[in-house]
Amino acid sequence: MMDRREPLDQIKSRRDSALSALVSGVPYLTWMGIRFDRRGDELTAILPYDEKLIGNPLLPAIHGGVTAAFLETAAIIELAWTAMWEDLESGRIVPDAAVTDSLPRLPKTIDFTVDYLRSGLPRDAYARARVVRSGRRYASVQVEAWQDNRARLLAQATGHFLMPQG
C-alpha cells in the first residue's frame, strides 16, 4: 500500500537510486554516456553529444546505429522501469548496481524498426518511450527521439520485446 505520509526525500531517493542502479548496471549505457531524467515515473533518455557518436564526419551527423541504439535503450529501460515500478514502490525489491542479482532481468529485443526522419546533429539528443502493450510474455513499445525541438523528430521506432520470466 502507498504510504501518504512517507517522507518525500525517502521517496525520491528510492526511485532515483533504483533508476541509477538499472542504468549503471549496463556497461554499454555508460560507454555511450546515456543518462535518464525522471519526473515521477516519466523517463526521458538523454544522449549527450560526443565525438565518438559521429557517423558522417563531413556533415557532421550522428551515426544511424547510434540513433538506433539510443532508441532501443530508451525502450528497454522504460519497459524494465514500468515492470519494476510496483515492486519498487512496495519495497519488495531494492535494486543495487553493486549486486547484479538485485537488478531486474532486462527484456530481450525480438525486433526493432527505426524510422530515420532527420540526420542527427552534433548535439544532445533526447528520447521518450511509451509501452503500447505489455503482456505476460510480449511487449510492444513505441519510441520518439528529438534534438532541439520536441516536435521535430530525429527518429521514431517501434519494437517488440520478450519479457523476463519468473
Binding site: Y28, I54, G55, F112
Partner: protein, 140 residues
C-alpha cells in the same frame, strides 16, 4: 582496381567514421553491392551483465554501417547514402567473447533508393544472431 585495393580503401573510409572506429570495425570483404564488416566483443559494449552479451545497439550500429557500405559498393556508384529505415530481427544472443560479423547485400537500387538485406553472425555461422532489412537514400 583490385579487390584488395577496394577493401583497403573501404577500411580507410570506415576508419574515418568516428563511431565505427570506436567500435573497432574492420572491413573483411567488399563486392558488387555487398559488404562484410566485423568487430570484436568488448566488456564495455555489454548490454546484459548477467550473460556478458553485447547490447542490441551495437549490433544495430554494425548492421547499419555494413548496409551503408553495401550501398556504396553498388556498381551504379552512389555518391553518398543515409538510412531511411532499418528493421532488425534478433534471433539469438551473440556469444560472449566472440567476434560479430555482418554481411550485407544491396539487392535492388533505383535512382533514389537502395534496398538492403543483412545478417549478423558470431563464430557459430550456421545460426545467425540477427537479420536486418533496410531502405537507404541514394545521392547521385
Amino acid at each position: 582496381m583490385s579487390q584488395t585495393d577496394q577493401t583497403r580503401i573501404a577500411q580507410q573510409f570506415i576508419e574515418a567514421i568516428p563511431h565505427a572506429r570506436a567500435l573497432g570495425m574492420r572491413v573483411d570483404d567488399l563486392g558488387e553491392g555487398a559488404a562484410t564488416i566485423s568487430m570484436p566483443w568488448a566488456e564495455h559494449l555489454v548490454g546484459d551483465p548477467r550473460s556478458g552479451v553485447v547490447h542490441g545497439g551495437v549490433v544495430s550500429a554494425l548492421m547499419d554501417t555494413c548496409c551503408g557500405a553495401a550501398v556504396m559498393a553498388h556498381p551504379s556508384g552512389p555518391g553518398s547514402t543515409a538510412t531511411i529505415d532499418l528493421r532488425i530481427d534478433y534471433m539469438r544472443s551473440a556469444n560472449k567473447g566472440q567476434r560479430i560479423t555482418a554481411k550485407a547485400h544491396c539487392y535492388h537500387i533505383t535512382r533514389t533508393v537502395a534496398f538492403v538485406r543483412a545478417v549478423a553472425l558470431d563464430e557459430d555461422e550456421e545460426n545467425p544472431v540477427a537479420a536486418a532489412t533496410g531502405a537507404f537514400t541514394v545521392e547521385r
